[in-house]
Amino acid sequence: MTKTRVGSLFFLVFSTIYLYQSFNIHLLPGSHYEAMTAKTFPYYLGVMGIIVSSLMLLFSYIKVDTEDMFNWEKLKTFDFKKGTYFVIAMLFYGFTIRTLGFIIATIIFLIIGFRILDEKNWKVILFTAFGVSIIFWFLLTQILGVYIEQGMIFDYLIGVQS
């Protein structure tokens, strides 16, 4: 399996779904008489996507480039586990930023991030996480005048600030 083949298969499936979904775009009554409707552009894009990805798939069988082959040795050195942890941490940040509020959520996210990347010095971890979160919050709310919600947990504990 070459990289191009994997990519072209992904885009072939994606373009087919995209094209299929273009038929589900509901048009307004009478728009059928227009030169171009909301469906037209997506329809042609879907068709083009299928053509280009099919060509790519076809060429990947005709000519196999050594550079296009997966380098399994190199892939083995990649740390996908850490990458996955980071993705989870980012989703968690998205979940906590409104519930715990900007400062607490950011501190937690940064601490988790530093730990995922094996930073062992807790002084550095805490200093950077607290420092960045508080300075950034201060800069946004007190200097740039950006309103940031205090977090649902604070709304619950101390009531909604007006």
Binding site: L28, S53, G94, I97, L110
Partner: protein
Amino acid sequence: MDGIYEGITTALTTYNILMVSIGCFAGTFIGMLPGLGPISAIALMIPITYGMEPSSGLILIAGVYYGAIFGGSTSSILINAPGVAGTVATSFDGYPLAKKGYAGKALAIAAYSSFTGGTIAAVFLLFAAPALAKVSLSFQSSDYFALMVLGLTAVAAFAGKGKFLKAAIMTILGLMLATVGTDADSGVSRYTFGNLDLIDGISFLLLAMAAFALSEALMNVIENKKMSKEEKEALNKDIGNLTVTKEEFKEMAPVVGRSSVLGFFVGVLPGAGATIASFLAYGMERSLSSVKDKLMFGKGSIKGLAAPESANNAACSGSFVPLLTLGIPGSGTTAVILGALISYGIQPGPTMYTEQPALFWSVIVSMYIGNIVLLVLNLPLIPYIAKLLAMPKQLLTPLVIFFSLIGVYLVTFNTFDIYMMVIFSVIAVGLRLIDFPMAPMILGFILGGMMENNLRRALTISDGSLNFLWERPITATILVITILMLISPLISQFFSAKIKEEDR
């Protein structure tokens, strides 16, 4: 003339000079970090510019762009790790010079070449932009549609050997993503799947941040590359004297002149950019050099360092020509800048030149100021800025990810955007692993809406007929160029095969 005067006074306000200086510093720092290029640098700075005047915001962004290219050169020279593709050619001779103990000289040569390249290009821009803006006032929707097709095709055509189809499909993906949300003409929702968060479509900043800054940071996590001992030593080593001798200046002068002109014109071309300009300039200088000089290329040649450096900076200025005059970006970086402009409520194009001359000219003037800032302030500070490169990656990467996420969140305060960003960045990492380029996608995304609108207008004017494609000579000419560009790889392949056959 009034416009130029207004532009100069706008650019020379204390606040705007401060903005261009901050932009140059931030850009230099981000550009130095391996993996983070100018697109990421600009995307990271855009949320900060939302609260500013459009001219100040754009001036800051232009400074970031220049700074990122300069920063890329610094890491290319010092540790042979170009942060930006446009400075890969710089490392060919910059790094060997640094290894010989002339890091300071190499950095100074790079800075002087960049400054001259940027200056020459800014002068060219001063004349080329208004001229093109005047011509483009006569452009109609069909011409714009054809120009966008040309721009997107060119990006694919210049993507490199064997990458044409990959770049083409990424452009189409960008165009597809641009159709998500409410159709601007009919108000019909498309590809929202009943989700209210998608009604307004996908934000360009979200996509740019996910496809570049976030996915580049995630790639850093996955690749788990540690700074080698050699790199650490190089950073801690004294960079030496920054002076360039008279003889060296004499040697550099014609090279810089030629490369700047070449770089500017390559930058103007849609799809080409700093990377192609720097490689072309390097190649050109090598072939123009004497046999003795040729041997020095790759071993620390001053010409080999000056050529790509002046060309890549000139190309950066050149790439602003189609953006400012036609409103059509020719590269991923200018596409992100266009996205920023649109979010400020400004539509670049010929009308910008006539209706907002202060903004138009202030950007051009600020490019020149940016060059001065890089030379006068950044160059002497390079030894200190370079030390930041030694900042532990385990601290830097989570911070980059945090700034990417919060930059998008602070615009909408919608956590759905964070989730969407994470999903897009995971897909982007997957696509990076199988060598699919990201820049054509962002270009397609930015141009998608405009392309559809112009096609709709052209079709409505021609009563649904495709005659508009060949009725106007400008449209037809642009489309013929597009077709030639499409088939040029096939033609060159055919001829090279024939030459090989004849040789046998």
